[in-house]
Structure formats: structure tokens, C-alpha cells
């Protein structure tokens, strides 16, 4: 292993050593504050290392990893999201759980898995990264053991994630059987050698699509999303919605660009159908919901559909649009679930729409931040979500994907309805006498500051997108 090899995997080393350090420090003494500090400091240090020292040139560690601009940018994004999630988690778990320290080990390991996922260029590293991420998530989803719904959500996610992993693996095996290589570039070479796809490779890629579709939670593989979102603790839900789905999306983009999947019309048609179905079914299911967590779950299905529109457009512009949308979506989703977590009390999460009744009069700042997040999800101008959609439309139009762009526009209008409905609930008059089942949250400064920073980022990106877009253009190039 050369010196540059070693330097370029330091982000991974920092994460593993942080996990081991936390294990040891729990063995010595359980102290939530110390563990929390180790977590945040190591995540922040990791991000700073990437920001300062990562070269924008491509560096390949044969045969498993490729550290290029795209991978580095997504690594940074994942680290920052994990940092934001751990900020929300502190207050959330401080109130609820006796043994809260192990959560941070799982959080760091899941982040490690996602980082490995976005820099992998080989089936083995893909599989390992994905499984480190998934197995940590099973435990994170069920972390609050006293809630019965969290067990249910955990076992549902476990069975379905293992089920989809099996599909992914079998697809990989079929591709390997006919390509003779598990490296993305080797598969690309095999595919380029013949003009048409052999049935075995086609079946393999189809099965892999099923596996990836499950992890992304797109229609028709979406049934786990709502239950898992509802049953998991709010910070964990934020983590699944952002890091887990975003990492998978980045991997999908890399795999498709390398093997040049855009040549195959059948595959593209399949993804176009998945994208349109996800947008419509996600939005229609959200319309009928009263549970805010489930609304956000269904809306995440349609948001992945939007991202797939940019993904299908392809080319440098398409990949940059995907990355930008991921940034906007990460900020918004973590913000929304962060508010949900701060409003929750010891017994249950603030997930019913009635919990938000009159919030604007009771707690104007919280309500304002939540409104900003929801407007960004709906794609209203001056927010990051709007700019994200703008770039997706630009990528789609640039490539002549008129049908997909039209569907995106229709769905944005449908989506507006249920976001506005939540906002309207917050403006309803506030009842003075509190009913007994109302929530009694306690406020923590850490969460408040995180929320404020996220909101500022949201508005800053929404009003001044060129800064972040320049950054993305500097990092994300196809070659």
C-alpha cells in the first residue's frame, strides 16, 4: 500500500477508530456527553480532513476503491449529515433511553458503510459498505426498545433489506458469471465488447435493479418506507431518509455512468416507469395521511422519483443536478425530522398532525423553521428545494425528457397540497387548556442551533445557489 493510498483512506480510518474509541470509553465509564463529544469531534475532524487535504484528482486503490471528486463530495455530504443527525440525537436520546451510548457507535458504523458505498468500484466493496450500513440501521431503528412499534419497524426492515440484498447479490453473481469481473470497469469492458446484452447479464442487471430499488424505496419496492419511518426514532428516520438513500443513489449514478447503462433502452424505460410511478404513488399516498412521519415517508418516495428524472437525463449536467438535489434534500429532510424530534416528548414522537395545531402561536420560531423546511420540500422559490428542482428540470429539458419533466411539474403541484395542509394546521388557533395527551417536550440548545444553521443554509442555497453549484461543478465531473 503506497503512501497516497494510505492518505486517501484516512477518512475511513478516522471513522473506524472513533467507533473503537467509543467502545472502549463505554467500557470504562458510561457518559453520554463524552461519547457525544467524541462522535461529533471525529465526524467534524473527518470532514475537515476531506475539505482540506483531498485532491480533486482521481486516485484508485485497486481493486476496491476509487477516490474521485464525486466520491469525495458525497463523502463530505454524508459526514455532514451524520454530524447534523448526531446533533439532533443528543437531546432526543438524553430524554428517552437509559443506555444511549451505543447508539453513537451504530451511527458512526452506518456512516462508515455509506462512505465505503460511495467510493466503491467493485462488487465486494459495494456489498460490504451496503451491509455495514444496513446492519447498523437494523439496530438503530429498534433502539428505543420499550416502544412496541420500533420492534415491528426493525423486523420489517430487516427481513425486507435482507430480501433485497439477496436480489442484489444474485444479480451480481449473474453479471459476474458472464462478465468475468466484479469491477465496474471490467463489466463495462465486457458490455462494450458486444452490441446487445446477453440474457444472463440482462437478468443480472434486472435483479440488481430490484435490490437497489428496495434500498432507495421507489415504487414498486416502497412498502417498507412508511412503516419504518413511523416506527423508528425521529433522528434515525432522518438518517435513513438522507444518508442511506443518498449513498445508494450516488452508487447507482457511479455504476450506471461506468457501465454506460444509458445505451440500453429497456433498462432506461424501466427506470423511467419507476420514476413516474414513484412520483405519483408517493404523492397520492401522502395525500390521505394524517401522520406527519408517514407523510414525509411518502413524500420521500416521490422525491427519489424526482432525483431519478435527473439521473435519467444523464450526462454531466444530470449528475450535477442529482448531487445538488441530494444536498438540498438532505438539508431539508434533516431539518424537518429535527423539528419533529425537538417537539417530541418522552412517550411518543410528535407525529400526528394535531400535535402541530397552533404551533405558530405557541412557538413561532419552531413553526417558522418547520414551515421553511416544508416549503423547501414543496419546492417554493427562495428555498433550496426550488433550486434543486430547477436544475432537475434543466437537466431533463436539456436531454429532451419532456414526459418526465411534465410529470415532475404535475407532481410538484400535487405535493404542494399536503405540505400546505401541515402548514395550515400550524396556523390554526391555539387552545389554551392543554389536553392530557398533549406533548411536553423539553428544549435543548444543541438541537436549536442545528435547526437554525440548517434553515440558514436552506435559505442561503435558495437565494444564492451559485456558490454551492460552483463547488459541485468543481468536484463532480464525469471523467
Amino acid at each position: 500500500m503506497s503512501k497516497t493510498d494510505l492518505l486517501s483512506v484516512i477518512p475511513i480510518f478516522i471513522l473506524t477508530s472513533a467507533a473503537i474509541l467509543i467502545l472502549f470509553s463505554i467500557a470504562v465509564k458510561r457518559n453520554h456527553k463524552v461519547i457525544y463529544l467524541i462522535t461529533t469531534v471525529s465526524l467534524a475532524a473527518d470532514f475537515i480532513y476531506i475539505a482540506l487535504f483531498s485532491a480533486k484528482t482521481k486516485w484508485i486503490i485497486e481493486p476496491l476503491f476509487i477516490i474521485d471528486g464525486f466520491g469525495t463530495f458525497n463523502t463530505g455530504l454524508i459526514l455532514l449529515s451524520a454530524l447534523a443527525v448526531s446533533m439532533i440525537s443528543y437531546a432526543y436520546f438524553e430524554q428517552r433511553e437509559e443506555r444511549k451510548e451505543e447508539y453513537y457507535i451504530l451511527l458512526i458504523l452506518a456512516t462508515l458503510g455509506a462512505v465505503v458505498l460511495v467510493i466503491s468500484k467493485h462488487f465486494i466493496s459495494l456489498f460490504l459498505g451496503l451491509e455495514i450500513l444496513s446492519v447498523s440501521l437494523y439496530a438503530m431503528i429498534t433502539y428505543l426498545r420499550k416502544r412496541e412499534r420500533s420492534d415491528e419497524a426493525g423486523i420489517k426492515y430487516l427481513i425486507l433489506a435482507a430480501f433485497s440484498s439477496a436480489f442484489l447479490l444474485f444479480g451480481m453473481a449473474l453479471v459476474y458469471a458472464s462478465a468475468g469481473s466484479m469491477e465496474f470497469s471490467g463489466i463495462a469492458k465486457h458490455l462494450a465488447s458486444s452490441s446487445s446484452m446477453s440474457p444472463v447479464v440482462f437478468a443480472g442487471l434486472g435483479l440488481m435493479t430490484v435490490g437497489i430499488g428496495f434500498k432507495l424505496g421507489v415504487v414498486p419496492f416502497h412498502m417498507w418506507t412508511a412503516d419504518v419511518y413511523e416506527g423508528a426514532p425521529a433522528p434515525v428516520t432522518a438518517y435513513i431518509a438522507t444518508v442511506s438513500k443518498g449513498g445508494m443513489m450516488a452508487l447507482l449514478v457511479r455504476f450506471f455512468v461506468v457501465i454506460d447503462g444509458y445505451r440500453y433502452t429497456a433498462l432506461m424505460m424501466a427506470f423511467a416507469v419507476i420514476a413516474i410511478a414513484s412520483m405519483f404513488i408517493g404523492n397520492f399516498l401522502a395525500l390521505r395521511q394524517n401522520n406527519v412521519k408517514r407523510i414525509l415517508a411518502y413524500s420521500s418516495i416521490s422525491h427519489v422519483g424526482y432525483i431519478l428524472v435527473a439521473f435519467l437525463a444523464g450526462g454531466t449536467l444530470g449528475v450535477q443536478a442529482v448531487t445538488f438535489y441530494l444536498v438540498a434534500y438532505f438539508i431539508t429532510t434533516i431539518g424537518a425530522f429535527g423539528i419533529l424530534a425537538t417537539l417530541s416528548d418522552r412517550d411518543r414522537d410528535a407525529e400526528m398532525r394535531e400535535d402541530y395545531k397552533g404551533l405558530f402561536w405557541a412557538r413561532p420560531w419552531t413553526a417558522a423553521i418547520f414551515t421553511a423546511m416544508l416549503l423547501s420540500l414543496a419546492g417554493i422559490p427562495l428555498t433550496a428545494g426550488f433550486i434543486g428542482k430547477f436544475y432537475i428540470v434543466a437537466a431533463g429539458v436539456g436531454n429532451g425528457q419532456w414526459l418526465l419533466v411534465l410529470m415532475l411539474a404535475v407532481n410538484s403541484a400535487i405535493g404542494l397540497y399536503y405540505y400546505i395542509k401541515i402548514i395550515a394546521t400550524m396556523f390554526e388557533p391555539y387552545e389554551k387548556e392543554r389536553p392530557s395527551d398533549q406533548l411536553y417536550p423539553s428544549i435543548y440548545i444543541v438541537s436549536g442551533v442545528t435547526m437554525a444553521v440548517l434553515t440558514l443554509l436552506l435559505v442561503w442555497i435558495g437565494t444564492n445557489p451559485s456558490g454551492i453549484m460552483d463547488l459541485i461543478q468543481a468536484f463532480v465531473r464525469l471523467n
Binding site: F123, I124, F127, L128, E131, V135, Y138, A139, T142, R145, E148, R149, D151, E152, A153, G154, I155, K156, L158, I159, A162, F163, S165, A166, F167, L169, F170, M172, A173, L174, Y176, A177, G180, M182, V200, A226, D227, E230, G231, L285, Q289, N291, R294
Partner: protein, 102 residues
């Protein structure tokens, strides 16, 4: 290995995979669902070994070892969860574990 064609190995793996899939979809007991998922994972492992043998590479077997490791990790978390569920619901029927409907 010369007299066994690669295709028969892949067909065997596919049959195992489909059997496991049918198991997951039809069984109602959570432990049996977990076992069926394991069968699917092992079918994928078998397919990797067959493919590795075809190309005379060790990669297929390396992947199989990773699949075994991951399946073990998954089962340990899964069984812990199943214990917890049995503790709360006093049954392992997966229909009982569906409080959430939307």
C-alpha cells in the same frame, strides 16, 4: 468440474433462490421468513462460487465468505429482535406484528 456445465450450477442456484423467495412470501412465522432469506442469500453465494469456478478466479469464493459473514451478522441481530418481539407479543406470527397501517 469439466463435465458439469456452468449452466446447471446457475440453474440450481436459481431454483434455490426461487424456493427461498416463495418461502419469504408465503410463510407467516418470522423465524421461517428469516430462514427463507438465508436460503436466498446462500443461493446467491452458490451462484458466486459457480461463476468463480467458470473464470477460475478466487473472487467468487471470497464473495461467498463475505456473504456468510454478513448473513451471520444479520441473523444475530434478527434473532435478538425476534426475542424482543416474542417477549412483547407472545407470538411469532408476522400478522400480529403489524400495528402500523396507513
Amino acid at each position: 468440474m469439466d463435465d458439469v456445465p456452468i449452466e446447471s450450477g446457475l440453474v440450481l442456484a436459481s431454483i434455490l433462490f426461487i424456493l427461498g423467495m416463495i418461502g419469504v412470501l408465503t410463510r407467516r412465522n418470522i423465524i421461517f421468513m428469516l430462514i427463507s432469506v438465508e436460503i436466498m442469500l446462500n443461493a446467491a453465494g452458490l451462484a458466486f462460487i459457480v461463476a468463480g469456478a467458470k473464470w477460475a478466479q478466487a473472487d467468487g469464493q471470497v464473495m461467498f465468505i463475505f456473504i456468510l459473514t454478513m448473513a451471520a451478522a444479520e441473523v444475530s441481530v434478527g434473532l435478538a429482535l425476534i426475542l424482543q418481539i416474542y417477549h412483547q407479543l407472545k407470538t411469532l406470527d408476522s400478522d400480529a406484528a403489524s400495528k402500523m397501517n396507513g
